[in-house]
């Protein structure tokens, strides 16, 4: 039951909203119980047996947390409890996600005969494991000093963020869950939440799903050894680069919108990442909650940048390798992480080395900015090839096609091919044979939208603050003159976004890409 499906929008969500509206008349406790129950039902809808894993993990973690909280701050007992908790969560994640991968590679490397188990991955395990680990560490650091079972259940299971994040810190929601009368449905919450949800749904249904039709054939052809040209390689890579952004940021927006309907604010995850002019900047904009987790709970404990530049670069590589592996049990993900680690090291070296250089001139500065943007974007797009490709061979095939001199000269001489891999897709979409030249135009328009359109956070930041009474510094600062407001124009825009999305998903919607992680 994905957020963008009719089941969710027309059946599950109205039931949850109506139930909340009834429960909130009875008090905070019924509301929380109702939301927890429906969140568990939402999780069980995917694969009921795994609900037991989720419940077992929550209860075990809660037990460990209580032991840690009871122990004196800074004591060995607290450290031991937290360590056991972290190891337990890592082992659970490791078993379900990496056991088969490790066994396969062990057998390949050492000629072993370990059984390579095909274990079905519990949905969302990567996300809720990290959330629980973060809370364990926060308890150890004394950032969290008390915790009720109910609030812990809400923290882990609240359905908007249960499956694919954002990776929420307990400190972000603690006060919201404790505040009397906070969690409820009101017309204002509903309008604000629907507006944010509508933006996310639009990104997913009208953006990501459409771009997927241009990316999938190219990556599939590369995996199957079928031929394709330079134009198609670039189309596929750019389409996937944008598909991933619209898919994941769309999901994240929908999660924030859903939570806002109930008066809860979750952190946004994307701040126009394809505007980044450096890799450092990119990681402040892309999957913000994951990079925050990696920074706070991995990079800094490893020493961060406090132990000299050499150690800093090593820490960056370790963090990005783990980040890559977190996304999936495959060497292509490790390669993606390694690439980004390398990018970060190079970026830091450049930044440190150029700090003493004179400021660029009036015209040179913008040109350098543009060049930085292009280089960053290309570096990110190239790394995504490994992220998406089914094998190293397929990834290298795509990259080779992208930079094939003969392919470029053909493209320049003959223009975009009207036949080939995407011709069938174009025919399916338009009914007109021999006309696939609109596809790169669509991809470029999507790129323009990703770069130029205001981020959802910028659109709704002030209203979330106003309506849900938060401190303004909860969100990273952005600059945008376009703001959502409760006016008829924006209400019409919201209605249109829902309508456009409905037309796109009437024949079914694909699962979110990050559900695979």
């Amino acid at each position: 039951m994905v957020f963008s499906s009719f089941h969710f929008i027309l059946i599950f969500l109205p039931i949850v909203a109506l139930g909340t509206a009834v429960a909130q008349r009875l008090g905070d406790l019924p509301v929380k119980l109702w939301l927890i129950a429906t969140s568990l039902a939402f999780y069980a809808a995917w694969y009921p047996p795994y609900l037991l894993i989720l419940l077992g993990s929550i209860l075990a973690n809660y037990l460990v947390l209580q032991i840690a909280l009871q122990a004196p701050a800074g004591s060995q007992q607290r450290l031991l409890a937290v360590t056991v908790g972290i190891i337990g969560n890592v082992c659970l994640l490791g078993w379900f996600k990496y056991a088969g991968f490790l066994a396969f590679n062990f057998n390949a490397a050492f000629g072993g005969t370990l059984p390579v188990l095909q274990i079905v991955l519990p949905l969302g395990i990567s996300f809720f494991s990290f959330q629980k680990i973060a809370l364990l560490i926060d308890v150890y650091r004394r950032d969290v000093t008390e915790l009720s079972l109910l609030d812990y259940f809400m923290f882990v299971t609240f359905f908007p963020q249960l499956i694919a994040g954002p990776i929420v810190l307990f400190s972000e929601v603690r006060d919201q869950y404790k505040e009397p009368g906070r969690i409820r449905i009101t017309r204002a919450h509903l309008l604000l939440g629907l507006s944010i949800f509508g933006v996310g749904l639009f990104k997913k249904a009208a953006g990501a799903d459409l771009l997927a039709t241009y990316a999938d054939p190219i990556f599939k052809a590369a995996a199957q050894g079928r031929p394709f040209g330079t134009a198609e390689a670039w189309t596929g890579v750019l389409a996937y680069t944008l598909q991933l952004y619209f898919d994941f940021s769309g999901y994240s927006d929908m999660a924030v919108g859903l939570a806002a309907m109930f008066g809860i604010v979750l952190p946004f995850n994307f701040v126009r990442p394809y505007r980044a002019t450096s890799i450092i900047d990119f990681w402040r904009r892309w999957h913000v909650t994951l990079s925050r987790f990696l920074r706070l709970y991995l990079y800094i404990p490893l020493g961060g940048n406090r132990k000299g530049p050499g150690r800093r670069y090593l820490n960056l590589m370790i963090v990005m390798l783990i980040g890559g592996l977190w996304h999936g049990a495959a060497w292509t993900f490790v390669a993606w992480g390694a690439l980004h680690g390398l990018y970060l090291v190079i970026n830091h070296l450049w930044r440190d080395g150029s700090a003493s250089w004179p400021k660029p001139g009036r015209w040179v500065g913008p040109a350098l900015q543009a060049g930085s943007w292009l280089l960053t974007f290309l570096a990110v797009a190239i790394a995504w090839v490994f992220f998406r490709a089914e094998s190293f061979g397929a990834a290298m095939t795509i990259l080779a096609r992208m930079f094939d001199g003969a392919g470029w000269s053909t493209l320049l001489r003959m223009g975009y091919p009207t036949d080939g891999l995407l011709a069938g897709v174009a025919y399916l979409q338009t009914g007109v044979p021999g006309n696939s030249t609109y596809i790169p135009v669509v991809v470029l328009i999507a790129l323009g939208a990703a770069i130029l359109a205001p981020s959802t956070q910028a659109l709704f930041r002030f209203e979330l603050v106003q309506l849900l009474k938060l401190r303004l510094d909860v969100f990273p600062t952005t600059s945008s003159s376009t703001r959502w407001a409760p006016t008829r124009s924006w209400a019409i825009a919201t209605g249109l976004m829902f309508a456009v999305s409905a037309l796109a998903i009437v024949r079914g919607s694909s699962p979110f890409l990050y559900f695979n992680f």
Partner: protein
Amino acid sequence: MTDDAQPAEWFSGLQGTRAVSWNGLLRTVACSFILFLLLVSGINLMVDPKGLYQLVRIDGFNVYKPFQPSFTREIKALGAYRYRPDTLIFGASTVTFGVDPECPTAGLPGVSRVYNYGGQGASVSEFVATLPDLRAIGSIRRVILEARFETQPFASASSVSVAGTGRPADDGLMALLRRWIPASHAATYAENLFSWRELALSIQTVLANRKADKSFLFRSFGENGIYDQGWLRRWAAFVITEQNLLGHISNYTDFLINRAANATHVDVEYVYEAAAAAQGDGMALDIFITPVHATELILFREGGLWPLYEQFKIDLLRAIEHARERYSVNIRLFDFGTLSSATNQPIRLIDNQDIREHFSDPVHFKTGIGDMLLAVMLKCANGAAVPEGFGRELDQTVVAGHLSAERAKLDAYAAAHPELVQKIAETIERGRKRSQ
């Protein structure tokens, strides 16, 4: 501030603007959503690019439906429901192009309204998957099912056969709708009304209808499912030339000969499924083996598939007789894969677009042959002159003699056309080497 406060009280940027309540804003969201959907669905309904609704028909606007041939399955599912035939002919492109289902006076009782349910690439497995929808029509008493040899599920002794394409599984809400309202095909209507692709087709349909010269546009399927015969005459009134024959042989070496190279038999289990379904609704079932040009039979022979072809007929007949006994269903088998004056038109050097000739390529027959099919199977008095040896109803008493006679006729044809046979054999050999 309480929740009763209006939006303008919350947001300083709204001061001075006309106040709108939260309820008003929520209503605006709902209204704009509904109105936009109504706009798109209204356009799709009026233009009707697939001819599903048939409510509006305006010259220069939507009379021509150039995209219909790409959506045969959807269109015919609803077309059959609207037409409410008593007899339905199911098959692939051969049936789609080649059968005019008009049967003015049928000799068989209960046959008066015949519907052409052919679809490009359709297989018998797809027919079986489509049966629930067909049964929901309620009026069908006889189904004529094409058993085209080239698209049968070939099997070897050690393998499981690969079935033909079935209808893709419905998911979620649409599956639910189809189960509840199968006869009205509500889900198909909904998918076509509220869809970007249909809007794109609608716009292009209108633009096509605005052209001054519409002579090469596809007009529409007939109400009885017949293909636009005017379009066929303009675009596909071909005859078999040596060039297109050898091109076909080359393609079919890949598509058929190499695919069936290791096959020992054809999986005819679908006969039992079709018979079981027919039993439930008291339907009669006629299965016919497709009429093909003599050169296609030569392809089977030179490609080493003739024994498989004969075995296919034998196995099919056996399965039909078992199914007839098991399910008490009236099933007949007709073999039109025979050599006669209707199927041995000469191979031309150039295409003179003679619509009187019966085949446009070795597998696709024209409506002259289609008329003969209906004359033989349904006793339609459609004026078709059925030549000697064109098709035969098979049973166990005649099958051995029939196959022997066909073998002899083919040998005689081959002896009379040695150069043609030689060229076909060479083309097959080149195709085999290419695939190795």
